[in-house]
Amino acid sequence: MRRKAAGALAAAMMASALLAGCGSSVVEQAQEQQTAAQTTAAQAAGGTQEGSGQAEVQETADLAKTVELKFNYAVGNKSRTMTYNQESPLTLPDGTVVTAGMLKPMWSYVEKELNSKFTDVTVQDMKSSDMIQTESTSNFLGANIYGGESIAERLMFYGTEGKFVNLTEMMEAGYLPNFKNYLNNNPDVRSAITAYDGNIYHVPYIAEINQIARAFEIRGSWVTELLDQTDASYDTDRFDIYYQGFYIGDNKRTGDNGGTVTPKEGVNIAKKTDANIIEIQNSLDVKNGETLTGALIQYINDNYDYDTPSQLYVGEKAAYDIDELIALMRCIKANPHYLTDGRADVVWPLFTRQSSYREELVRLATYFGGVKVHGADSYKATWYIDENGKVQYTYSEEGIYNVLCYLSDMEAEGLIYSDCYDLTDKTNYRSTLWGTDDGDAPSFGFMTYDFIASSTSDSLNKDTIVILPPVAKVNGVWQYYMDNGRAIKPDGWAISIAGSTQEQIDRACAVLDYFFTAEGAVLQNYGLPMILEENEKYEGPDGISYPKFNSWVTETCNAVAKGDLSTFLRDWMGCLMPIGYQKEIGFEYQYTSERGFEGWALLQGSTLHIATYAGEGPDGDNPNYYKMIPPVFSLTSRQKETISDSTSIESDDIVEYMFNIVRYRTKGNAPQGAEVAQTYEEYAAKFAARGLDLYEQTYQAAYDVMILGN
């Protein structure tokens, strides 16, 4: 019996081996399998496509049926979620009362419009990144829609891993028609949110692209008081100098090198000599508020034909360069008693809104010869595209090191608010340095680089005005330029696969698409129809008509949110949240003060250029100079591993390392343990040791994929 079995087995083995040998090659077999799989997929897609025709028909019908959707939308601030978390109830114009724990009014409205039942399952104070990290462990099973701030890269990555619904396929199947239409009209957005596999998995928050983001704002009266008063009693306390100037030596500003600049079409401002104000101030025997300011006034009168010296900085004829700005800052720093009527011993010429915005300081790099620092609005956008179309990491470049050294000189002179570097300090310095003038313990700041509407708000300080940026040689051309346009944000939302039934996916698509309809866009940008004027529009300074808020908004906003409309709409109404939608500038215009409008008009009427996705600007050294980089790069898991395993460029301490230069290099007062690069070689070696080459190669590859995919 055993022999028979062995014989049969042997025969079977021989036969199967021979059959295997006679069949097609393994390559052909694999190709046949692939073709079969593709055919099956195509048939399935065809089924969906066929079904989509029905789906669209059913889409309308489906809205008749209530579908429950769970949202996990985390922003690290319970006031900013979908849920109303204010202590006091809010009574809407129609008498509806909203109390803590309910959905905010806008979300209740959308819920009704789309006949859905929304449940906010967010841990209310949870940060977006923590939420994604936590939920990824359960395959995003706990909700249908996930969203938040600075998570676009995560949404794309998990999308490619099959965790989020492929919106490209959904759009091909007829879903999200308004979003699809928006992307067709805005290919830059499509390109920026497409993952490496060529698909879209999230809907982003798109700020008012191609608009000015931040601008330079100052206390206007301080400049005129300093420079235009004839009987000023300046301070005479000693002032120590460290900064040696940028436009010196071979780089003197004269003739072809910025001798004549054009702040506005038809307005040419000529500088008469090659004198440098920093050198003049540095050569003074006695340096104090009086002598420094006197030297500056004399310098302006000697070099420019202004009616008043302050015009060098303020108004449409402004033509100051970075040295002239620093000279002005010195005068401000040296005259605290004069400028504050004796209310302060110290004033701060330059500050950021909060310490987490400290990288705004490095944006001054643009005015030190056009050095690139951030390729987009985000501080994480530490890339620019060079003349060969290659992405270059900015923070490690010699130009940035030099700028950090200049900033260090400024820091040593006390020109930068010293608390700006401390990340543990969560104070809003803009409120402190501009908003406490009439308080018992006032603090005074002069200048910041921030958004126009909020910085020129009457409730903050009625003296703040917008000025043109310093004129500089940017991309090889003397011009007015701000390397900071409004961008596609790394925020948004996506639909979970594991957490959703097909019915929920369909409805979630309808929700995502809704904010790209005319009605949905107005709702998210401005609010419920009941808080808008029915037959009236707001005419913006750009000549465009926008929905206009009614008096209920102003009154309620003043009563509950100290007149901060942005906060009111976000925290009380549920609008303007960084979900997937296109933000409009019309809201911002309506809460901009007169001085803010003057600022907009000043900038829009000037020859100013800003960074845009299209990248248009005066011809210069680098045709890609004005181009903004995408908000995030879609990295494959292999690329992510490469970066996490072999580089450490992205760790927070690299920024700390950079700011150590600003804080300690010039004065040499670094505390024990603080590493301060004394030379660029030392600085560059730090980045090289952290795997800069590999880091750049990896991001270059991700960028190439993005380019190839388009």
Partner: protein, 177 residues
């Protein structure tokens, strides 16, 4: 007779070593191409097809064939080929198995060449996009495979021939006695 039986034993051991070598080969077959695992970009889809479909499929097939080769060793022990002259049944069974193994080896060689040709034709220019800069073609596994399977064919033939001769001689001697 003693001499022929010694040859049969030696061939049995040679076959055993060869079959084990083939088995080991199938275990390490993918190692040289591990860099090509996990490619995600559309630009590299042919390479991932090569790795995930062609190579993996082929590896599974040759692994199954290698197990057949191992079974022959088991049969050899089971049918006492290492210690005795095979009877007709053992001879038929093992001859069939060895024919199967040799056929499998021929199949493997043919396909290694087809796989190698496909590999040679792949476009690696976008491999750098996934962190593999300066990728160079690697043919060691394919070349070694051809060698190993040629050895297997030879060893199968030699083992089978040795058993046949040993069996025939034994039968003749038995008839003469």
């Amino acid at each position: 007779m003693q001499k022929l039986f010694r040859v049969q034993k030696v061939m049995a051991w040679v076959y055993t070593v060869t079959a084990l070598a083939v088995f080991l080969y199938t275990l390490v077959f993918m190692t040289e191409y591990k860099d090509l695992f996990g490619l995600k970009l559309k630009q590299n889809s042919q390479i991932s097809f090569f790795h995930d479909s062609v190579l993996q499929t082929f590896n599974r097939q040759i692994f199954a064939l290698a197990l057949v080769g191992i079974l022959v060793i088991v049969f050899s022990f089971f049918l006492e080929i290492f210690t005795k002259v095979p009877d007709l049944f053992a001879l038929v069974v093992l001859f069939a198995c060895l024919t199967g193994c040799a056929g499998g080896a021929v199949y493997a060689i043919t396909n290694i060449q087809a796989v190698e040709a496909f590999y040679r034709g792949l476009d690696f220019q976008y491999l750098y996009l996934e962190g593999l800069a300066d990728y160079e073609h690697k043919f060691t596994t394919f070349r070694a495979g051809v060698g190993v399977y040629v050895l297997q064919i030879v060893s199968c033939a030699a083992y089978g021939a040795a058993m046949v001769m040993s069996h025939v001689r034994f039968k003749k001697l038995s008839a003469a006695e």
